[in-house]
């Protein structure tokens, strides 16, 4: 099970009350759909990966209703969603399950509760930092950062293993090595920063985050 459950909740929520459900409704993208789940389990049965997770979607939604705030927000499960849409097309209650999974992950991240070493989370952060810096994705920098995410040795190993793919991409001009040294990106990068900061500010205010 989830190792993070041992972290005690600073303000214990009364279990099986609406509190956490309401929080999710207010703060999680598509979170107002959670209450519509009828616990049929079709999503969990359809998810190609769910059986490998601590909490497949149906269970996460029940945990939300049960007020298991810490367990949900510290869970790795929603980070593992590959956006395959299997659950969404099958849910008889038409819940946008996949979006809720990402919404939960995002919300947990904003609260700083997301599991620190989760690879999906770390890649997501690399990607965001990469695109937010210049307004464009710099693929060479992103791949290098990803390869060396777990340290020098494993980075070299990964790069070596991927060398054929990399060379192929270079030959077909799918990868621009110059980009690694020249940042590039959009004009007026500082305006992008201003926009992003404003967006953070609005979201924080709405969700009551610091």
């Amino acid at each position: 099970m989830n190792q993070t459950t041992s972290v005690s909740d600073p303000s214990p929520v009364e279990k099986y009350r609406n509190n956490f459900l309401k929080e999710v409704e207010a703060n999680v993208e598509e979170g107002d759909w959670v209450k519509m789940c009828m616990q049929c389990g079709v999503c969990s049965g359809s998810c190609p990966l769910g059986s490998a997770w601590a909490h497949p979607p149906q269970e996460l939604f029940m945990m939300i209703r049960a007020g298991q705030r810490e367990e949900v927000l510290r869970s790795e499960s929603m980070w593992m969603c590959t956006s395959c849409y299997s659950c969404v097309v099958r849910c008889p209650r038409e819940l946008p399950i996949m979006h809720i999974m990402h919404g939960l992950a995002n919300y947990a991240n904003r609260l700083g509760l997301a599991p620190k070493m989760n690879p999906t989370k770390r890649f997501a952060k690399l990607f965001w930092d990469n695109i937010a810096a210049t307004g464009r994705v710099n693929e060479s920098r992103l791949s290098i950062k990803l390869y060396f995410m777990n340290g020098l040795v494993s980075g070299i190993k990964t790069a070596f293993a991927m060398r054929k793919v990399g060379l192929g991409m270079l030959k077909t001009h799918r990868l621009n090595l110059i980009g690694f040294f020249r940042a590039g990106g959009i004009k007026e990068k500082n305006q992008l920063q201003q926009m992003l900061n404003k967006a953070y500010e609005i979201e924080d205010k709405r969700k009551g985050l610091s």
């Binding site: 009364e14 279990k15 099986y16 009350r17 609406n18 459900l21 209450k35 519509m36 009828m38 616990q39 149906q58 269970e59 029940m62 945990m63 209703r65 049960a66 298991q68 209650r93």
Partner: protein, 778 residues
């Protein structure tokens, strides 16, 4: 009946009969062996020309009985109907041309369509046809065209017992159709449980919110209706008679009794509330904050009264409820002693509705419905979704225990109760506790169906699980509702758990007492919408009953039948078998213990005829003779012919149609069988078995409907009784040194189209194995 009998037979050559059979031979047999005075063949007997030929002989040659050698009796029923009051012609005058009795030789389905079309098979196929012609001629001679019972009653007033939503609906619907109605209610006012409800479940689009309770409007309609008489504080103290001529004593609380005559009754005696004090584990009785659904309605009604917005207060100390837990299936769907073993079916919806009372008033109130299966059939699924949208939380779990603790309430300083709901969450597979100001138990409905007239004291030989089932059953009220003065008991027979018996699959509105119809929760647990629909159906049945009774016609399943049992008192030994075995309580007893037949109560199943050991009961067109003579008419080849004969007595409701349909599908079966349809296996008299053995039949197959608890028998217990009687025949067979396999009983469904031919062929193989009947030729 003293009239001269003149039988005419007609052989059809259509549908391939002419090519496959020697029609001339059939005509000869009808004349020489069947002894008919006129016999003709026709290329297409059911054509207008064919019918005209028959009509002409009836009108001008004085023909009284007709034998049709053509298709099954289930085909062309209208064309070959020469009765006076033909069911198709509503209002046909009885005094019009007197009808004639018709016997049908099933040459098409029974012979050419169930036998191979080959030169090899020709001889056996013709043998079959010859026998069916002999049998039909024999049957015809012993039949009479039935005429309606001259003592039938024609009272068309309808009495409704129970003034709840079902009774009110039945009364209003009957009145609207132009019938005079008497409505008898036990309490001082109309409206029943429905009157105590704050709001109703939605009955129309968009099925999203509770509806206003419109019961007062309905009660008002009753009060202003010119043709409805209401008796309040009144019960039935005696009900006697029969459809079209019931006599009912209505006694009011004061003791005054009036006697009224009515044509039919509707019993809408509803339900009694399940006694929640049998659920101490849920804290019921320990805290006033644990209520059942009916009590919650009262709380909601008083809280939301005329001025509305008050919200619902906690009974223990008056604090506004902030959290409420609904416990589904409380004491239901459980085999614990004292619990209801069934699902009441409506309580999931009611909890949803009641959770909305809270959410609609204040969305911040926590409402948690703890369920194992949420049963929201049909449009209720929208209602469920609407509740989710309103924020009602649904938790899949089982509540094990509710603890009650006293707590201080700061504001008013009084003591309130704190409820801890212990449950198991089935999704997260964990035990959990949630606290609530109020707990609502979804307890179910217990039918208010009067005395269980068939209740047996479980005897020591009963199977263990059987007795366990008995003890798990709920005790039902022992006060009679109808006080019938029928020999078989004061109330309607129950099916299970106290719900009244009906043929649930084929004609659910019928009960086992003709002219008395049940509706609402006395039939099965129901909500308001279902009760209204049910009561409307019962009103229509009651109307059908009074109209049918006035014409002397039978109710389901032999609807329209004019025949009725008559009995020869001189021969009766007062053995009481008929009075005991009649599945419909139609037979009473006079002071000398002779049976008294109530023709309008009778369903014409013939069970009494099958039961009678001295064979004094008969119908004009169905009797020990009409079948017995057919058995004797079969031409019996001697034992060296290697042509065995197997008699099949097939129930006309399921087995015979299945055989016909097998023939429609050209599924072939053994050519040695001779099939006789019977009204019900219950009508099979043992003398027929003896007759068949004596006549040289090598085996007898009896096919009836499914018996037992989930019976499909159209006459409820006929098939069961037949199986029982036949099980006793083994002794007799062994005394005669006959193998028990010579007489076999089968349960056959109408869908057994492929199975029945197989049963026949297997049985024929078995007979082949054990050899011919040693009594052949004696």
């Amino acid at each position: 009946m003293t009239n001269e009998v003149k039988v005419a037979a007609y052989m059809c050559k259509g549908c391939g009969l002419g090519e496959r059979l020697d029609t001339k031979l059939l005509v000869d047999i009808a004349q020489s062996e069947g002894g008919v005075s006129i016999c003709k063949s026709h290329d297409y007997l059911c054509s207008s020309d064919g019918i005209a030929t028959i009509r002409d002989d009836i009108d001008n040659q004085g023909v009284t009985h007709v034998v049709i050698g053509a298709c099954s009796r289930r085909s062309k029923t209208e064309a070959f109907n020469f009765s006076a009051t033909d069911a198709g012609r509503v209002g046909a005058a009885d005094e019009a041309t007197k009808g004639v009795a018709v016997a049908r030789a099933n040459l098409r389905e029974g012979v050419i369509w169930s036998q191979p079309d080959s030169d090899d098979a020709r001889e056996l196929t013709q043998d079959m046809a010859n026998d069916y012609v002999r049998m039909a001629c024999a049957e015809a001679k012993f039949m009479q065209q039935p005429v309606a019972d001259p003592e039938r009653g024609a009272n068309k007033r309808i009495l409704v017992v129970g003034g709840g939503i079902s009774g009110i609906t039945a009364a209003l619907e009957s009145a609207k159709a132009g019938y005079e109605v008497l409505l008898v209610e036990k309490t001082a006012h109309l409206g029943g449980w429905t009157k105590t409800f704050h709001r109703r479940l939605p009955a129309k689009e968009p099925y999203a919110h509770p509806h206003d309770n419109d019961i007062d409007e309905l009660v008002n309609q009753i009060e202003v209706a010119a043709n409805i008489t209401v008796f309040l504080n009144a019960t039935l103290t005696k009900t006697s008679g029969a459809p079209g001529q019931f006599s009912v004593d209505i006694t009011t609380e004061s003791g005054a009794t009036v006697t009224e005559n009515v044509g039919a009754l509707v019993q809408a005696s509803g339900f009694t509330r399940y006694d929640a004090s049998q659920l101490p584990e849920f804290g019921y009785g320990k805290s006033p904050d644990v209520v059942d659904q009916i009590e919650l309605e009262a709380l909601a009604k008083s809280a939301n009264g005329p001025n509305g917005e008050g919200g619902i207060a906690r009974p223990s100390d008056g604090k506004m409820v902030e959290s409420v837990v609904f416990v589904q299936c409380a004491g239901q769907r459980s085999d614990k002693p004292g619990h209801l073993p069934y699902c009441s079916g409506y309580c999931c919806n009611v909890s949803i509705k009641q959770a909305m009372y809270f959410k609609d008033q204040n969305p911040d109130i926590d409402t948690n419905v703890i369920y194992t299966d949420l049963r929201t059939p049909g449009n209720s699924e929208d209602f469920y979704r609407s509740a989710q949208l309103k924020g009602v939380v649904f938790t899949n779990g089982t509540v094990n225990k509710i603890e009650v603790n006293k707590i201080e309430v700061n504001k008013v300083g009084t003591e309130g109760d704190q409820l801890s709901v212990n449950f198991h969450d089935h999704i997260l597979d964990q035990d959990a506790i949630t606290h609530a100001d109020l707990v609502v138990l979804a307890t179910g409905q217990v039918p208010n169906s009067g005395v269980d007239i068939e209740s047996k004291i479980p005897d020591a030989n009963d199977r263990a699980d059987n007795t366990a089932g008995q003890s798990a059953q709920v005790k039902v009220s022992v006060e009679s509702i109808l006080n019938l003065d029928y020999r078989q008991g004061r109330d309607l027979p129950h099916l299970k758990h106290g719900f009244s018996d009906s043929h649930f699959i084929c004609f659910p509105y019928e009960t086992r007492r003709t002219g008395i119809y049940t509706c609402g929760p006395v039939r099965r647990p129901m909500d308001i919408v279902q009760s209204i629909e049910d009561a409307t159906g019962a009103a229509m049945k009651a109307i059908q009953a009074v109209e049918g009774a006035a014409m002397g016609r039978a109710a389901h399943p032999r609807s329209g039948d004019l025949s009725y049992p008559s009995f020869r008192k001189e021969g009766c030994t007062q053995c009481k078998r008929c009075t005991v075995e009649c599945p419909f309580g139609a037979i009473d007893e006079d002071e000398n213990h002779y049976p008294v037949f109530n023709e309008s109560r009778c369903r014409r199943c013939g069970t009494c005829m099958g039961a009678c050991p001295v064979r004094v009961i008969s119908f004009e067109n169905y009797s020990v003779d009409t079948v017995g003579q057919q058995i004797k008419a079969v031409d019996m080849p001697d034992e060296f012919d290697e042509k065995p004969r197997i008699l099949i007595l097939a129930c006309e409701n399921d087995a015979y149609p299945a055989l016909d349909m097998a023939a429609h599908n050209r599924i072939e079966y053994n050519a040695f069988v001779r099939i006789i349809p019977v009204r019900c296996l219950g009508s099979v008299n043992l003398i027929w078995v003896t007759d068949a053995i004596n006549a040289g039949f090598d085996g007898i197959m009896m096919m009836g409907c499914k018996k037992g608890e989930d019976y499909q028998c159209h006459f409820v217990s006929g098939s069961e009784l037949a199986h029982e009687r036949m099980s006793k025949i083994n002794d007799t067979l062994s005394q005669l040194q006959l193998e028990p396999e010579r007489v076999q009983t089968y349960e056959v469904e109408i869908t057994d189209i492929e199975r029945v031919p197989k049963l026949i062929n297997d049985y024929a193989a078995k007979i082949d194995e054990i050899g011919m009947n040693p009594f052949k030729g004696f």
